[in-house]
C-alpha cells in the first residue's frame, strides 16, 4: 500500500518535471508568424510592379506638394488577387520639406470621399515645434524621367538634394542635385498597396482566428505596404527591438532560407532567444542605411500598428525591369503594416550623426537624466522586505562598492495593487527611503498598467467609475489577466486619462512615496497573460473609437509618458523624472529609460545585448541597457563578471534577476570576483563626468552615448558590420568579451590614429586588429586627439562625488593636439535649461592646455557654481619631458611627474602627470608645459 503511494507521488513528480521542461523555452508557436498574419502574407506574395496607381492633380498647397493617387481606368477592370482593388477611391498624397534635410511623405484616404472611419494618426509623438521647421514650398519644376509618359515633379529639399514625385509609375525619391544619384526612394518596385476601409457587406467574413482567440476585425482589411530603397547602402540598421545583430541581415530573396520578416509588435516574450527577427517589447519603425559611397540615410514610418519589415537580398527582383545604375549598391526593403496611414520621413544624412539628428528633430532628443540615474542600479525580483533592503544597501558600503539606486519589483505591493505597499514586508516605506537617501541613494518601485479589478482598490474604483479603461469590442471594460489576476488596463491614449494617472504620483496620493522614489513601468506592451500573443485583443477599443490594432505599439509609450509626467508634476516641474520602461516607441527617449527586458544568463545574451543597445541608441533611445547577469537563470561567475565589465560602459547600468535565481550581488562570489566587479562599477563611476557630458550631447543633438564604430568612423568599412565593439562618445572604444576563459581579445582599432589602453596607457596603432590582454578587464582604449574628464575618487554614490576634483586624461594625436568637453549642472533640476550649467571645452595644442567656455552667456539667468578643481592632468603620447607647468591666470608653477594612469595598488607610475594644477573647473585658464 505504501509503495503504491510512493509510486503515485513519483508519477506526479514525473508529470511535473516534463511539464517544467516544456515551459522553459521560447514558445514560438504562441506568436503569429508572417504566414499566419494575412496582411503580411498578402504583402509578401506581391510581385514587383504590383502597384497600378498614378499621381494626378499634382500641386503646391499650403507649402506642400500634393497629389491624388488614382488607378487608371484600364486597370480597374482587372481586380488583383487581393481585396485592395475592390475599393479604388483616390488616395491623397502630400510631400513636405523640413529644415536640415527632412522630407515627409503622407498618404491617406481622401476625407472628402467619406471613408467609414478616420484612419488612426499617432498623436503626441512628433515634437510640437517640428511643424515650425517646415520649409514652405513655393514651386516645383517638371521633368520627364526615363521617357515616362507623365511628368515628374521636383522640389528643393536641402543643400545639394531634391525630392522628386514621379507620377507614372508612382515613385517618390530623394536625389543628389548634381550627380542625380538617388539617396532614398519609395515604391521604386511598385509594391505599394493601400487597403481602404470598407463597409461590411453580407457575406464578408473578416474575422481572424489565432489559437483560441478571435479578432472580429469590424473594419475589414486595412493594411498598407510599400518598398523603400536605400541607395549607396552597404548595410541597413535600426528598427528595434530585435535580439539580433546590429546590421540587419536580409530576410527574403535569393540565398535566404525561409526567414520571418523583422516584426515590430510590442510583445512580452517569455525567454526570448538571441538571433531572431522576432518582435520584442518595443518598436521603432526607423531604419538607417550606411555605405561607403553615399554615407548614411534614414527612413521613418510613424505608424503604431503591427509592422513587418523585409530586408531584401540583392537580386530579389531579378525579373524586374527596373534598371538602376549598376555601380551603386542598393538595399531594398519591404514595409508592411496592418493599419494606420503612411506618415513617413526621409532623412538624407549624409553623415551618421546627421541622420540621428534629423530623426530626433522629428521625435525629440533624449531627456537629460539625473546624475544618479547614470550610476549603478541594483535590482532583484524581489528585495523582499525592509530588512533585506537594509542589508543589501549596507553590503555595498561594507565592500566599498558604489551604487545609486535600489529597486523593488512587484512583490513590494499589496497584492499587485500599484501605489500600495505590502505593509507586512514594508511597514515603513518612507523611513526606508529616507534612510537610503541619507546616503544619497534613491529607490525605484514598479508601477504597471494593469489594474487589479478589486472594488476596494482606489485606482480601480476611480478608473471604472470614470470609464478610464480600455474597452473590449463589445464596449465593456476589457478584462484581462496579469500579475494581480483579473485586471483592466488604463486607456493612456486619452490625454485627460494620462493627466489623471499623472496625479496619482503626488506624494499625497502615492502613500509611502518620498522625493527620492522613482518609477519603473513594466508589462506595458501591454502584457496580458490570457490575451492573443500574451497581449491585448486587436479589436479592443480605445478613446476616440480607435482600435487597439491601430495603436498597439504606442500603448506602452503613452503609459510611460503619463508616468513621467506624474513625476514631473509631483515636484512641480523641478525634478527630472526617472522612469524605466520596457515597451517603447519613437519619442520614448523624451520620457525616460528602457531596458531590453527579460534576457537570460547566457553568453550569447551578453553578446546580443550590445547590438540591441547600440540599435536603440541610433534610433533615438540612448538611455538603455540590459539586465546585468541576465534575468532568467544563474550566470556562471565569469559571465557575471564579464557582464559587469561590458555593461559598465553602456548607458543604463542595472543588475537584475528573476526570483528563481540565486542571489548575485557583487560580493557573493569570492574576494577576487568581488574585486573585479567592484573595479568594473568603479570605472563607471570614475567616467561619470564623461558619461554625463555625453548624455548632455545626446540631449542637445540626439547623438547617442554608446555608438556603433561606424558612427565615429563612417569611412572605415571594417567597422560597418562590427557590433562586438562600440564607442562611448567619440573618445573611448570598448571591446566586449563574450566567451568563457578568454585571456585576450582581438580588437579592431579603426582609423589611422593611435589608441591608448585605458588601464596601461600602452599605445596601439589604428587601422588594424590587435590582440590585447583581457584577463582582468575588457579592453578599452582612448582615441588619440581626445580629452576625457574623470573623477578618480570613489564614493558611496554620485551624490557624495559632487565636490570631488577632476582628472583630465589627454591623449595626444600625431600633431600633439587633443580636445574634449565637460558638462556639469546640478544633476537633478531643469535649471540647466535656463543656463545654469558649466560647459567647458579643453583644447590642447603646442604644449598648452586651455579651458574655453562653451556655455551660452546668460547674464540674467541662474548660474550653476562649482568649486570643483582639477587635481590631476594625465598626458598620453606627449613626447617631450617636462618637469613643470605654468598655470595662468594665477601664474603659478606646478610639478609635472610620472604618475599612475589609474590609481590602483601596485600600479607603476608611468604616465606624464601634471600634479595639482588645482584650477577651478568653472574658470577660464591655461596650463603651459615648461
Amino acid at each position: 500500500m505504501r509503495s503504491i503511494v510512493v509510486l503515485h507521488h513519483f508519477l506526479c513528480l514525473l508529470l511535473l518535471l516534463s511539464h517544467l521542461n516544456s515551459v522553459s523555452s521560447w514558445k514560438k508557436e504562441e506568436f503569429r508568424n508572417c504566414d499566419q498574419t494575412p496582411f503580411c502574407k498578402r504583402a509578401r506574395s506581391r510581385k514587383p510592379q504590383h502597384c497600378k496607381l498614378i499621381a494626378t492633380d499634382v500641386a503646391i498647397q499650403n507649402g506642400d506638394l500634393t497629389a491624388r493617387l488614382i488607378t487608371p481606368k484600364n486597370f480597374e477592370q482587372n481586380p488583383d488577387e487581393d481585396s485592395s482593388e475592390i475599393a479604388s477611391k483616390p488616395l491623397i498624397l502630400s510631400l513636405s520639406v523640413y529644415h536640415n534635410g527632412i522630407l515627409r511623405l503622407k498618404i491617406d484616404e481622401d476625407p472628402s470621399q467619406n471613408p467609414p472611419k478616420k484612419r488612426f494618426e499617432v498623436p503626441d509623438v512628433i515634437l510640437p515645434e517640428f511643424e515650425s521647421k517646415k520649409l514652405w514650398l513655393q514651386r516645383h519644376t517638371k521633368e520627364v524621367i526615363n521617357g515616362d509618359s507623365a511628368d515628374s515633379f521636383v522640389v528643393y529639399l536641402f543643400d545639394g538634394y531634391e525630392a522628386v514625385l514621379r507620377s507614372d509609375p508612382l515613385e517618390v525619391f530623394v536625389r543628389e542635385q548634381t550627380s542625380g544619384n538617388r539617396v532614398l526612394s519609395f515604391n521604386s518596385h511598385g509594391l505599394f498597396d493601400f487597403e481602404q476601409l470598407r463597409v461590411k457587406k453580407e457575406g464578408d467574413d473578416w474575422e481572424e482566428r489565432f489559437r483560441s482567440h478571435t479578432d472580429s476585425r469590424p473594419y475589414g482589411p486595412q493594411s498598407i505596404s510599400f518598398d523603400v530603397s536605400f541607395h549607396g547602402a552597404d548595410f541597413v540598421y535600426g528598427i528595434p527591438e530585435h535580439a539580433t545583430t546590429l546590421s540587419l541581415k536580409p530576410t527574403n530573396g535569393p540565398g535566404i532560407e525561409h526567414s520571418e520578416p523583422y516584426r515590430l509588435f510590442n510583445l512580452d516574450v517569455f525567454e526570448y532567444i538571441p538571433e531572431s527577427p522576432f518582435g520584442l517589447y518595443g518598436s521603432i519603425p526607423f531604419m538607417l542605411s550606411h555605405g561607403k559611397s553615399h554615407g548614411t540615410s534614414g527612413f521613418f514610418w510613424l505608424n503604431a500598428a503591427e509592422m513587418q519589415i523585409d530586408v531584401l537580398a540583392p537580386g530579389w527582383d531579378s525579373e524586374s525591369s527596373i534598371s538602376l545604375p549598376s555601380d551603386q549598391k542598393r538595399i531594398d526593403t519591404l514595409w508592411m503594416s496592418e493599419a494606420g496611414i503612411i506618415d513617413s520621413f526621409f532623412f538624407i544624412g549624409p553623415k551618421p550623426k546627421d541622420v540621428v539628428k534629423q530623426y530626433t528633430t522629428v521625435t525629440g532628443t533624449s531627456a537629460m537624466p539625473q546624475l544618479f540615474a547614470t550610476g549603478y542600479h541594483q535590482c532583484r525580483w524581489n528585495y523582499r522586505d525592509e530588512e533585506d533592503v537594509k542589508n543589501v544597501d549596507s553590503k555595498f558600503d561594507e565592500h566599498d562598492i558604489p551604487y545609486d539606486v535600489l529597486w523593488l519589483d512587484i512583490e513590494h505591493t499589496d497584492g499587485k495593487r500599484y501605489f500600495t505597499w505590502d505593509r507586512v514586508l514594508f511597514p515603513n516605506p518612507e523611513e526606508m527611503q529616507k534612510d537610503l537617501a541619507s546616503r544619497g541613494r534613491k529607490m525605484v518601485t514598479i508601477v504597471d498598467p494593469h489594474i487589479k479589478r478589486d472594488e476596494g482598490y482606489h485606482i480601480h474604483k476611480e478608473a471604472s467609475k470614470n470609464g478610464y479603461y480600455v474597452k473590449d469590442s463589445s464596449g465593456k471594460d476589457y478584462d484581462g489577466w496579469c500579475w494581480p489576476g483579473s485586471s483592466s488596463y488604463i486607456d493612456m491614449v486619452n490625454p485627460e486619462i494620462r493627466s489623471w494617472w499623472a496625479d496619482k504620483f503626488a506624494y499625497t496620493e502615492y502613500i509611502g512615496s518620498t522625493p527620492s522614489l522613482y518609477i519603473w513601468n513594466d508589462m506595458n506592451e501591454p502584457s496580458v497573460f490570457n490575451g492573443p500573443e500574451v497581449s491585448m485583443p486587436r479589436d479592443a477599443l480605445h478613446y476616440g473609437n480607435v482600435e487597439h490594432r491601430e495603436l498597439h505599439n504606442a500603448y506602452g509609450y503613452y503609459f510611460h509618458m503619463a508616468t513621467s509626467d506624474g513625476l514631473l508634476k509631483r515636484e512641480k516641474g523641478q525634478d527630472r523624472p526617472f522612469v524605466l520602461s520596457r515597451a517603447f516607441f519613437p519619442g520614448t527617449q523624451r520620457y525616460g529609460t528602457v531596458w531590453t527586458g527579460d534576457n537570460t544568463a547566457e553568453w550569447e545574451q551578453l553578446r546580443v545585448s550590445v547590438p540591441m543597445i547600440l540599435t536603440l541608441g541610433i534610433t533615438g533611445i540612448t538611455f538603455s541597457g540590459a539586465d546585468v547577469g541576465g534575468f532568467f537563470g544563474n550566470p556562471d561567475t565569469e559571465l557575471l563578471v564579464r557582464w559587469y565589465q561590458v555593461a559598465a560602459y553602456l548607458p543604463f547600468f542595472r543588475g537584475h534577476a528573476h526570483h528563481d535565481t540565486k542571489r548575485r550581488e557583487p560580493w557573493l562570489f569570492g574576494e577576487r570576483n568581488t574585486e573585479l566587479m567592484r573595479e568594473a562599477i568603479r570605472v563607471r563611476y570614475t567616467l561619470l563626468p564623461y558619461f554625463y557630458t555625453l548624455f548632455r550631447e545626446a540631449n542637445v543633438s540626439g547623438v547617442p552615448v554608446a555608438r556603433p564604430l561606424w558612427m565615429e568612423f563612417p569611412e572605415d568599412e571594417s567597422t560597418f558590420n562590427n557590433d562586438e565593439a562600440f564607442m562611448v562618445g567619440n573618445g573611448l572604444l570598448v571591446q566586449g568579451v563574450y566567451t568563457q576563459n578568454a585571456k585576450d581579445a582581438t580588437v579592431y582599432l579603426p582609423g589611422d590614429e593611435t589608441w591608448y589602453d585605458l588601464r596601461t596607457g600602452t599605445a596601439y596603432k589604428g587601422g588594424k586588429s590587435q590582440k590585447v590582454d583581457a584577463s582582468g578587464a575588457i579592453p578599452v582604449f582612448q582615441r588619440s586627439g581626445t580629452i576625457i574628464p574623470r573623477k578618480d575618487r570613489f564614493r558611496r554614490s554620485t551624490v557624495q562625488m559632487e565636490n570631488d576634483p577632476y582628472t583630465l586624461v589627454i591623449a595626444l594625436d600625431s600633431s600633439g593636439k587633443a580636445e574634449g568637453e565637460l558638462y556639469i549642472d546640478d544633476g537633478k533640476s531643469y535649471e540647466f535649461k535656463n543656463g545654469a550649467y558649466i560647459h567647458r571645452k579643453f583644447v590642447f595644442s603646442n604644449g598648452k592646455l586651455t579651458s574655453v567656455n562653451l556655455a551660452m552667456s546668460t547674464s540674467a539667468g541662474p548660474k550653476f557654481l562649482s568649486d570643483c578643481t582639477i587635481e590631476r592632468i594625465i598626458l598620453l603620447g606627449h613626447l617631450t619631458k617636462s618637469k613643470s607647468a605654468r598655470v595662468e591666470p594665477t601664474n603659478h608653477v606646478t610639478e609635472v611627474e610620472l604618475g599612475p594612469l589609474q590609481i590602483r595598488t601596485g600600479v607603476r607610475p608611468s604616465v606624464l602627470t601634471i600634479r595639482k594644477p588645482n584650477v577651478k573647473v568653472s574658470d577660464d585658464w591655461s596650463i603651459q608645459l615648461l
Binding site: H9, L13, S212, N530, H659, D792, R793, I903
Partner: protein
C-alpha cells in the same frame, strides 16, 4: 650648576621639541592608526619615505596634501585622495574604527567622533559616548549570556559524556543480549519445529487411522449394501480428494502460526495491490492530469480548451514559477492525501505537537551593525521573546523497551534462559502424544523471545545510528539530538530538528527544507540539504547559523534566494569559555579607555 642649567635648558628644549612635533604630527597624522604613527614620524626625520607598497615615495608636504602619490594610499591617511586608503578614527569613548578613505568628507558622519568630516560642509555630533555605552551594555549583556551559557554548556558536555557512555554501555549490553537471545530463539525455534513436526506426524497418523477406519467401515458398508447407487460412490471420491489436498497443504513446511498469518497477510496485500493497480491509472489520470494541468503543461497546445482565466494563470506562471491556484489547491489535496496516508499507516513522523504554541510571535531582531563578527557566533541580546518551542522527535527511538529493559528486574534474560532451559529439559520432544499445553507454551515462549529480539535489534540500530553522529569535539551538541525547534514566520511554521531534518509547515502541508547533512565552518553552521525540490528550481536547503545562547531557540529564518533558506539557532553549545574570556578582556579594555569621569562602571 652651569652644567645643570644647560642640561635643564636642553631638557626644556627637547621637551618643547617633542611637544611641538607632537602638535605638528597630530595635524599631519590625521587618520593614522596609533600603530602606524611611528612610520609617519619618520617622514619628519627622513624627509622622504617610501609608500608601503613601494609604488613610490612621498615627502612631508605630500603627506595628507589631498593628492594621491602612493597607489596604496599611504601618503593620504587623512583624505579621500587615494581610493584604496583607510582612515582611522579614534572614537574616544567607543571603539576605534578604520573606514574607507572614500568616506572622508563625503557629507556623511561615519566616525562617532565626527573626525571623518572636517571640511566644514557638515557638522557631525560626537556620539561616541552614547554609542560606546550602547556597545558596552550590549557587550555586558552578551557576557552575561555567555556566562550563563558556559555553565549550561559545561553541564551539557558532562551530561553528554555520561549519556554517551550510557548509550555505549547499553549498546554493548544489548549486543550481548542479542547474541544470547538469538541463540535462545534458535533453540526455541528448533524445539517448536520439532514439536510441530511431531504434532503433524501425530495428526497424519491419526488421520490415516481414521481414514483406514472409515475405509474399513465403508468397505463393510459396501459389502453390506451391494445394491447401492453408483452415483453415491462417485460423490464420495471428490470428498476424499479434498481431504487429501488439505493434508498436503498442512504437510508443507510451516514454521509457526505467526509466520503463517504473516504470509496470509502479505498475500492479502498483494491481492490488494493488484486491485489498486487496476484502479491506479484512472486515479492518476483523475488526480494528476486534470484539464487545467494539461494547459499548464503546454498552454500552446491546449489553450483553446482553457477558460480565459486559466490561460492567464498559465501564461503568468511561467514568470512566477508558481503553480497556478488550481495546482496549489491540488497540491494541498495532495498533501492532505499524504497526511491521510500517513495517518493510515500510523506513521510516527507525524507525531502531534501538543506543546507547540501557535501564538508565538516571529522574532524580528535587529543586529547591531558594527558587531557583525560577533553576531554570527554569539547572542548579542538574549532578551528576545521566547518564540520557539522545542520537543522531542525521536519517537522512533522510543521503542517500548520496558519488558527488556526493566532495570528493577535485570534478570529477565536469565529468566528466559531458565525457562528455556526448563523447557528443553522437561519437554521430551519425542513424547507421544504431544503434550498440547506444553506445545502452546513453547510457541508462546518463542513468540515472546523473538519479539524481544527484534526490539533489541531495532534499539541497537537506532543507538548505533545515534552514536554515529558527530556531536562536536566535546559532544556539546549531544543534547540537541532528538529535539526539534520551531519558529513561526508569517503563515509558516519552521521546524529544525538537528541530526534529522528541517521542515516548513503550512496548515496541512509539510515541505522538507532539507535532511541533516553535517556541521560546517568548525561547528558554527548546520547544513540541511536535499530537501523537497522547488518547482522550476533547485532542491531546498537550509543553512543554520549557530550562536551562543542560554536556550536553544530558532531566532530567525529567511529565504535569501529562492529555496535556499537560512536560520539562526542559539544554543549553549556555542558558549565557549575561551570566547567568554575574550569578551571579558574586550570589555575591560574598553572600560580602561574610558575618559575619566565618564566611566559609569
Amino acid at each position: 650648576m652651569k652644567i645643570r642649567t644647560q642640561s635643564f635648558l636642553s631638557f626644556i628644549f627637547c621637551w618643547m621639541l617633542i611637544l611641538r612635533s607632537a602638535v605638528v604630527l597630530s595635524e599631519d597624522l590625521l587618520g593614522v592608526a596609533p600603530q602606524d604613527e611611528e612610520y609617519y614620524r619618520s617622514v619628519s626625520s627622513l624627509g622622504t619615505i617610501k609608500c608601503k607598497d613601494g609604488s613610490g615615495t612621498f615627502t612631508k608636504t605630500q603627506l595628507n596634501d589631498d593628492f594621491c602619490d602612493c597607489t596604496d594610499g599611504t601618503d593620504e591617511p587623512g583624505t579621500s585622495a587615494c581610493p584604496t586608503g583607510k582612515f582611522y578614527c579614534r572614537n574616544a569613548g567607543h571603539s576605534p574604527l578604520s573606514i574607507f578613505s572614500s568616506r572622508v568628507n563625503d557629507g556623511i558622519c561615519d566616525c562617532c567622533d565626527g573626525s571623518d568630516e572636517y571640511n566644514g560642509k557638515i557638522k557631525c555630533k560626537n556620539t561616541c559616548w552614547e554609542a560606546g555605552k550602547v556597545a558596552r551594555d550590549r557587550l555586558k549583556k552578551k557576557i552575561a549570556t555567555f556566562q550563563e551559557g558556559v555553565i549550561i554548556r559545561k553541564r551539557e558536555v558532562e551530561q553528554a559524556k555520561v549519556s554517551v557512555a550510557k548509550d555505549e554501555a547499553e549498546l554493548s549490553r544489548l549486543k550481548n543480549e542479542e547474541n544470547i537471545l538469538k541463540g535462545l530463539v534458535q533453540q526455541l525455534k528448533d524445539r517448536k519445529e520439532q514439536i510441530e513436526k511431531q504434532e503433524e506426524k501425530e495428526r497424519i497418523q491419526k488421520e490415516k487411522e481414521e481414514k483406514e477406519k472409515k475405509e474399513a467401515e465403508e468397505a463393510k458398508l459396501k459389502e453390506e449394501k451391494v445394491n447401492v447407487e453408483e452415483q453415491e460412490s462417485k460423490e464420495s471420491n471428490p470428498e476424499n480428494e479434498e481431504k487429501i489436498h488439505d493434508q498436503d497443504l498442512n504437510k508443507s513446511p510451516v514454521d509457526h502460526d505467526v509466520e503463517l498469518t504473516h504470509n496470509d497477510a502479505s498475500h492479502d496485500n498483494i491481492e490488494d495491490e493488484h486491485a489498486e493497480k487496476n484502479e491506479e491509472p484512472s486515479k492518476v489520470e483523475q488526480e494528476y492530469n486534470p484539464p487545467h494541468e494539461n494547459k499548464q503543461e503546454d498552454a500552446s497546445e491546449d489553450s483553446e480548451s482553457l477558460s480565459r482565466e486559466e490561460l492567464g494563470r498559465a501564461i503568468g506562471s511561467r514568470w512566477t514559477g508558481k503553480k497556478t491556484e488550481y495546482e496549489n489547491d491540488h497540491h494541498h489535496d495532495h498533501d492532505h492525501d499524504d497526511d491521510h496516508d500517513d495517518d493510515d499507516h500510523d506513521d510516527d513522523t507525524h507525531e502531534e505537537y501538543s506543546g507547540y504554541d501557535t501564538e508565538n510571535e516571529e522574532d524580528h531582531r535587529n543586529y547591531d551593525e558594527d558587531d557583525t563578527d560577533d553576531r554570527m557566533n554569539d547572542v548579542g541580546d538574549a532578551s528576545h521573546d521566547d518564540s520557539t518551542t522545542s520537543h522531542k522527535y525521536d519517537s522512533d527511538d522510543e521503542i517500548d523497551m520496558s519488558d527488556v529493559e526493566n532495570t528493577s528486574n535485570p534478570s529477565w534474560l536469565e529468566k528466559i534462559q531458565q525457562t528455556v532451559k526448563n523447557f528443553l529439559q522437561s519437554v521430551n520432544p519425542f513424547q507421544t502424544p504431544v503434550d498440547t499445553s506444553e506445545a502452546e507454551s513453547v510457541r508462546k515462549e518463542y513468540d515472546d523471545a523473538s519479539g524481544k529480539l527484534s526490539k533489541i535489534q531495532s534499539r541497537i540500530t537506532s543507538l548505533t545510528k545515534k552514536l554515529g553522529h558527530d556531536f562536536g569535539p566535546e559532544k556539546e551538541f549531544y543534547a540537541l539530538y532528538g529535539q526539534c525547534f520551531e519558529i513561526k514566520e508569517n503563515k509558516y511554521v519552521y521546524k529544525v530538528c538537528p541530526f534529522k531534518d528541517a521542515t516548513q509547515v503550512e496548515g496541512h502541508s509539510t515541505t522538507t527544507l532539507g535532511q541533516w547533512e553535517k556541521f560546517d565552518e568548525s561547528y558554527k553552521v548546520m547544513l540541511f540539504s536535499n530537501g523537497d525540490k522547488c518547482w522550476n528550481g533547485p532542491q531546498r536547503s537550509l543553512t543554520v547559523r549557530l550562536r551562543c545562547g542560554s536556550k536553544v531557540e530558532v531566532a530567525d529564518i529567511d529565504e535569501p534566494s529562492r529555496c535556499e533558506y537560512s536560520a539562526l539557532l542559539t544554543t549553549p553549545a556555542l558558549c565557549q569559555e575561551g570566547r567568554l574570556k575574550e569578551l571579558q578582556d574586550k570589555l575591560e579594555a574598553v572600560n580602561n579607555k574610558q575618559p575619566l569621569g565618564h566611566d559609569e562602571l
